[in-house]
């Protein structure tokens, strides 16, 4: 019995010592790869906390303790697998609970906002119910767009609001939420207060199947097909000749998008498909520096980090979010025309398409964490002919965006 107790206690204590012992083995360089978390969690999309150093101030404020908590969680062996296992158990219980109710769609974790649709085999986000705060935020956003148009009557202003997982009626959860904001109701709300000089665009998807053609199954972004459809609407409204794809490129990297990662349910996979448009060669400045805006080259030459391709395919392929991106097109036929695109990550696949019709295409991200220029000044200083505002619902209602647009 003594030996039995020793075994039980040893196993329990070994579990408790797992983080510290893995860290020690890592320092000695003998930690097996499958237990090693590295320094970056692709699943969570962030750096793993380093060992914090204590100072009087950060201990007194509790910051040190918070960082130590993150550090120790980050040291736990095979942490990403642990997160997925924990979520899988919760999902198993929810799936069991759903059995007598037979809902087609259910959250992937308790209290979670990422949903799995059984019939579609795809992930969606929880639709948003209309409430006072949301409607006020939409109204504030509309007034900001009006302010841009009214301050710059010389520029064409186009507002494109893409259908997206949070508002699309193609989301199987949409009919399950009382008073959910839909794409059409969102457009109606915006249209109500929008100045008549502004063109409001945004195509509807025709059912879940259509939506999953235009949007990724595991990510909140649109696919190149969805983006191209949006681009055609924008080009038509701006009166520019739309580019026609000459080739479709398909990459075999299987990827898990933002909804799957955040919902901790790696079911189904997406992969990158892109269109090639004849000769699209631009000089690109990212925050003033000449460098590639996207990862197309690294995908085509196979140098892309497989973990990035697996967990952050949209961002790593189409490019990340920056304060300011500039495309310079030296095609003489577009000389002297300038366009400003204001938007979130949805603009990324559309930018090079639009850039084909302008000498200068500027892209500004109006979210507080990126915005570094005053938009009003920028339009004046850069002789902008057209402004395209392109952002999804969550960016529209994000705190600080409306204020940023008026800056």
């Amino acid at each position: 019995m003594k030996a039995y107790r020793i075994v039980f206690c040893t196993v329990a204590i070994a579990i408790l010592f797992s983080s510290l012992s893995c860290k020690a083995l890592d320092k000695l360089g003998i930690l097996p790869d499958f237990l090693d978390n590295g320094s970056f969690s692709y699943l969570e999309g962030g750096e793993i906390q380093d060992l914090p150093s204590a100072t009087f101030d950060n201990v007194a404020s509790g910051q040190f303790q918070d960082e130590a908590e993150s550090y120790l969680s980050g040291c736990f062996p095979a942490r990403d697998e642990v997160l997925l296992a924990n979520a899988a158990i919760q999902r198993g219980v929810i799936s069991l609970a759903n059995y007598p109710f037979g809902f087609d769609v259910y959250p992937t974790q308790f209290g979670g906002t990422k949903l799995y649709s059984v019939s579609a085999g795809a992930m969606f986000e929880l639709p948003t119910a209309a409430n006072k705060g949301t409607l006020e935020a939409i109204d504030q956003f509309t007034q900001s767009i009006n302010s841009i148009a009214l301050s710059h009557p010389e520029a064409d202003v186009v507002l494109f609001v893409p259908d997206c997982t949070r508002v699309t009626e193609s989301n199987p959860a949409s009919p399950l939420v009382n008073n959910a904001i839909t794409h059409s109701s969102l457009l109606d709300s915006i249209r109500e207060g929008l100045d008549s000089s502004i063109d409001l665009l945004g195509y509807e998807n025709d059912g879940t199947g259509d939506f999953l053609t235009n949007f990724f199954e595991t990510d909140h972004h649109w696919t190149i097909a969805g983006a191209y459809k949006g681009y055609l609407d924008i080009a038509r409204t701006l009166g520019i000749a739309p580019e026609t794809p000459s080739e479709t490129i398909e990459y075999s990297y299987q990827s898990y998008g933002s909804i799957a990662r955040q919902g901790l349910y790696l079911t189904g996979t997406d992969h990158i498909v892109d269109y090639r448009f004849g000769q699209q060669e631009y000089e690109v400045l990212v925050n003033g520096e000449e460098r590639p805006r996207d990862g197309r080259q690294s995908y085509s030459d196979g140098s892309i980090d497989p973990e990035l391709a697996k967990y952050q395919s949209y961002e790593s392929y189409f490019g990340g979010n920056y304060s300011l991106v500039q495309y310079i097109n030296d095609d003489p036929s577009v000389h002297g025309s300038n366009i400003l695109i204001i938007g979130d990550s949805f603009t990324q696949p559309v930018e090079p398409m639009i850039a084909a019709s302008y000498e200068n295409t500027y892209v500004i991200d109006p979210r507080e964490r990126y915005l570094s220029v005053g938009i009003d000044e920028f339009i004046k200083d850069h002789d902008i002919d057209s402004v395209v505002v392109l952002m999804r619902f969550t960016t529209i209602i994000e705190k600080g965006v409306a204020e940023g647009l008026m800056s």
Binding site: R5, L20, L72, V82, N86
Partner: protein, 508 residues
């Protein structure tokens, strides 16, 4: 620091165990425990650890002075009580008193200092008070070593959420306890059970409870309101009893034997019984240090009622500086008086099921008062319980998400009953070849109300089994231990994943 954190589980606890058992002498081990206890407290309260040290010093000194002075014994006790309760009143009740007094007199006479509440102050103050009173009563000798006294007050297992440990319970153990593998194993098992209760049950149903409260009665309707209240009822039980199990288990690993703090309260048939099973260390503290000194029940009926209301008012107020806590205490005071006067006699004549139902309704309504501090939220929630906002309020059934939790609520309901001691008793009876007396599921295998020591629920005495059935018993034992280790892993997974992990003792 809380037990259900990566810092505690993956660093503090294993390191503390290692250093503790590396130290050979009792003195060194006590020093390790005292040092780790101070670190445990300072981790969450870097400034207030000084307040705890002050409290340790004052009460250690008070104990010595009370014991050594023959003339001013009562004076020293009074001064000590004044300081202890003064500290508690200042840090815990200042805002409440200032707000209410200023409101009554219509002038901002008392400044509202909005002091953050030192975590666990209510627990360590009661422990300190009980020690000084026990010394005054000559029930225990004073502790001469400030380190040993500090260890009694600050022992990290029970520091944040109890149980409230009497000095008399552990005075011998501080110097003469004997750690052994059997206790260590039992302690580890109990710790794992407590951790799983907190992390895998309480934290999950807490998501539902918190959501229903946040959305409010108008929006969740009858179904949401009941689901939320049921979820909160289980959350508070598994959170609190889980913490107590962890504390008792930790204590056991270090050789301390704490008394049981929860004894399946949700199977009670009356409120009186409920309070003999819920937070036993608090009930017995108020019984021994307030109710009996006031005269207990050996007084006139009016005085006896007064005594009960004082005790229950204080019990409520101890739980938090807000009117709803006082109301909650008085609610129980009223029920207990009624039960003692006539309701109890009626109840005993009812079928068992109805008695249980009465008690469940009583403590669930009690939790509603306890849970919701704001009357503006309380009233719509109460109305929703009685159907004022239809079945699901302004939400759809799907949107309410209550349906997701029914398996968890069933697990909680089953785990609230003595199913484990019942099954254990059945198994042992079978293994021993003796007849199982299944007089009542609710009584099987339970420790008697007066023997509230923690028994080894997961420990089987294989020697008592017949030869042929010993192997089966051993297999069951191994299976249980494997399940416990799996629960430990799952609990750590949940903690590492950063799942919802509310701390409900910030008011205590």
């Amino acid at each position: 620091m809380v037990f259900s954190s990566a810092t505690f589980l993956l660093a503090f606890f294993p390191l503390c165990l290692a250093l503790y058992f590396v130290a050979r002498s009792r003195k060194a081990r006590n020093l390790v425990l005292f040092g780790f206890s101070l670190l445990f407290y300072a981790w969450g309260e870097p400034v207030y650890v000084l307040l705890m040290l002050f409290s340790i010093f004052i009460n250690w000194l008070s104990g010595l002075l009370v014991y050594n002075s023959s003339k001013n014994k009562t004076g020293v006790l009074a001064l000590s009580l004044f300081i202890n309760l003064g500290i508690l009143a200042f840090f815990k009740y200042e805002t409440f008193l200032a707000t209410n007094i200023n409101q009554i007199i219509g002038v901002n006479l008392i400044p509202d200092l909005q002091l953050p509440l030192p975590i666990g102050i209510s627990f360590f103050t009661l422990q300190a008070v009980s020690y000084v009173i026990d010394v005054y009563r000559n029930d225990v000798p004073p502790q001469k070593s400030i380190v040993h006294f500090g260890l009694y007050i600050s022992m990290f297992p029970q520091l944040v959420a109890g149980p409230i440990v009497r000095y008399s319970t552990i005075q011998e153990q501080i110097l003469n306890r004997k750690e052994n593998l059997k206790d260590f194993t039992e302690g580890m098992r109990l710790f794992i059970v407590g951790l799983a209760k907190k992390v895998l049950l309480a934290n999950i149903v807490a998501i539902l409870a918190a959501k229903m409260l946040r959305i409010g009665g108008e929006n969740i309707g009858c179904l949401g309101a009941w689901a939320g209240l049921i979820a909160y009822t289980f959350q508070i039980f598994f959170d609190f009893s889980g913490y107590s199990d962890m504390a008792i288990g930790l204590g056991k690993m270090f050789g301390f034997k704490y008394l049981r703090n929860f004894n399946y309260p949700y199977i009670s048939k009356s409120v009186t019984e409920f309070w003999r099973r819920w937070h036993i260390s608090l009930s017995s503290f108020f019984r021994d240090y307030v109710y009996i000194p006031l005269g207990g029940n050996r007084v006139s009926r009016a005085r006896w009622c007064f005594n009960l209301f004082v005790v229950w008012g204080l019990t409520g107020f101890w739980h938090g500086a807000a009117w709803n806590f006082i109301g909650w205490g008085i609610f129980y005071g009223i029920l207990i008086v009624l039960e003692k006067l006539w309701l109890g006699r009626i109840l005993t004549k009812l079928p068992n099921a109805l008695q249980h139902l009465y008690c469940i309704a009583a403590f669930m309504f009690g939790w509603l008062i306890f849970w919701i501090e704001d009357p503006g939220v309380f009233l719509p929630y109460l109305s929703a319980l009685f159907g004022a906002y239809c079945l699901t309020g302004s939400n759809t059934l799907w949107e309410l998400t209550a349906w997701e939790y029914w398996p968890m609520l069933i697990i909680c309901a089953v785990a609230s009953t003595p199913i484990v001691p019942y099954l254990k008793a059945r198994l042992l009876a079978w293994a021993e070849g003796s007849a199982f007396e299944a007089s009542s599921f609710f009584k099987s295998g339970l420790p008697g109300e007066k023997t509230i020591s923690t028994d080894g629920l997961c420990e089987f005495d294989l020697q008592r089994a017949t030869e042929s059935r010993r192997k089966v018993l051993f297999v069951v034992k191994v299976a249980i231990d494997i399940a416990l280790l799996a629960l430990l892993l799952l609990s750590i997974f949940s903690v590492v994943a950063g799942s919802f992990n509310p701390f409900i003792y910030f008011r205590f």
